[in-house]
Symmetry: C2
Subunit: 405 residues, 2 copies
Amino acid sequence: MSVTELFATRTEGMHASEIRELLKLLDQPEIISFAGGIPDPALFPRVEFAEALAWATSDTEAAQSLQYAPSEGYTPLREWIVRYMATLGVSCAVDNVLITAGSQQALDYLGKLFLDPKDTALVGWPTYLGALGAFNAYQPVYGRIDPRANRSAEEITQKAASRGGRVKFAYLSADFANPTGLTFDRAEREAILAKADALDIAVIEDGAYQALRYSGTAYPPMLALEQARKGDMEACRTIYCGSFSKTLAPGLRVGWVVAAKPVIQQMVLMKQAADLQTATLNQMAVARVAEAVFDSHVEKLREVYGHRLNAMLASLGHHMPEGVDWTRPEGGMFVWMHLPEGMDGAELLAQALRTQKIAFVPGGAFFADGSNRNTIRLNFSLLDDKTIDEGIRRLGEALRAEMAK
Amino acid sequence: MSVTELFATRTEGMHASEIRELLKLLDQPEIISFAGGIPDPALFPRVEFAEALAWATSDTEAAQSLQYAPSEGYTPLREWIVRYMATLGVSCAVDNVLITAGSQQALDYLGKLFLDPKDTALVGWPTYLGALGAFNAYQPVYGRIDPRANRSAEEITQKAASRGGRVKFAYLSADFANPTGLTFDRAEREAILAKADALDIAVIEDGAYQALRYSGTAYPPMLALEQARKGDMEACRTIYCGSFSKTLAPGLRVGWVVAAKPVIQQMVLMKQAADLQTATLNQMAVARVAEAVFDSHVEKLREVYGHRLNAMLASLGHHMPEGVDWTRPEGGMFVWMHLPEGMDGAELLAQALRTQKIAFVPGGAFFADGSNRNTIRLNFSLLDDKTIDEGIRRLGEALRAEMAK
């Protein structure tokens, strides 16, 4: 017998991520890639990180930065996050903050925290496929969260029971969601919170793109809205996941969770058992860089990425044929496109790669049931105006060729 | 209802680690602490890490070091590990290596990979309590691995079936195990491998302390012995977990797994879903430092820690009363002590902290069933000879007081 036959049943739900597999293949320089969703390395605060790491490995700091540290995280970083959350309208204490190895790890831990097999996780349709990947390990079933839907809490609860479990949480990204780029407005946020109250479930708010607003007015995080209504963080069911990957740099793997203390305490135990702690060095460096330049650096990112988003939207207006439609985000890193009914995003990609040397992510993977294959995700954070325009022109050609089939 | 009532059943098995909770309390300078198991920060290769991080954040490298990277790990580090494993008698390829955020993460992923609820994990009695913590999340039951026991494979398999699952793996540390400091000799290693063949289970070999041998002759890792017998890495059931925490520095959280490719491939999917990747910056820095100074640095550690181990063993010989016994390890970071029958290590700690201002870890937590409470673990890696001698003298006083009760 092979060792693989000893694998747990949960491994049956673990598949390769289309996006990360694609990223490996798209290094060829002649391809214009709208795939991926990674920040522009030219915008990393490199000098600031070099300085912070020199400080962290100095004679006075290295005994701490290179050593083990408590699982909950480096206190000055947690304190910075408390101050940052206050600017978003969230009032919390250091004990409400856990540092994670990126917000992806927070999603894994939250799946582990809440999901027994066959429990229901409510997600967007589409949703971040990395969230589906993280949750899949805990063998849930998925339901659809939609603030405009009229299903009653009873209906949702009964459906979950008929599928063998309970509804445990709603996962969503309220700002510039991956993959659609869309944002829930205040009424939608309040509607979801009210539905979560009725269902008596947790809300996992993924704030990965929250800081990257390029136009329009910011809405408070769902956690801020819930706290404004309930008064006390400890009464809140919303669990906010933050990340430095899109604002400072992803290669350090530092993110955070803000939630009521019993949630954080259980997650600290989980982290202690799963990887002891997030790298001390990285937490110290991120704390120092955030303290020094977070606001001004994010302002710079907004300017550059906002310009690229506008360039993409303008190019789409010029080059797209009739019959396709796309979102007009006010932030984030993605534009989401609906192709004509019956067209398959994965087939379009195969054709476009071959004939036009462009790439993007087919949309089906972002749906828990693999439906809506006539969708694609376009990333604009890595390319300059001219390349965006040329790539979108080629996408138009590829679409016309596919429509003519 | 509180959100905590939504927690998954697996959280019932997650408790605070006695060791890490203790570490928080023992910062008071007047206490001589044999608790913990952390490297001496004075021995960190600080200058080398400062140089490596300056390189990694230089103009030419920062676009890589601060960016996302493939889940399997940074290729030059995986290549270094291939060469390192060869020095231990293991012949593997880069595709047999996964980089993890410390070897603790490898244990979490291996629990996730193999354990369905009620499956049996065979462990030492005692064993590393962090392994129990990692595995507990996947709700196994524990059986005892003992190379000198005569239980047949059928007996072990039937017992596991009667408990509702299958035997999935044996977890062990063959060299200077935490907490005993003891090493399996070649015959014991071969006996465990033969039993694993008979049971048709995986073997998880925790090599965290493997490099820290201060005297005596090194044995090949179990993976090397298995490969020598079976010829091909792909035919091996042993999964080797390595760590840089005890040799270079723990604060970077870099470890690795070497195993047959189907195991690594499934673990890569798991890592992709759970935290995307180990921090790129940390992998690049560790690769550079390991390449430059691994051998000479470990030589230095061996000299210093070996000296401290000898000091502790000599002090134990001088100060211990009749009726206690302890291990004589040839490496690692720990000495393990048996107290007289009926004495409780946790009660001794409470008394010793109060009356003698010394600390250590009570041994019960290292047993999957909490038995053998008349044991304690003593760490010697952090203290100089004189402090070790004074602390062990005080331990003798505390023991005499407890015996007189």
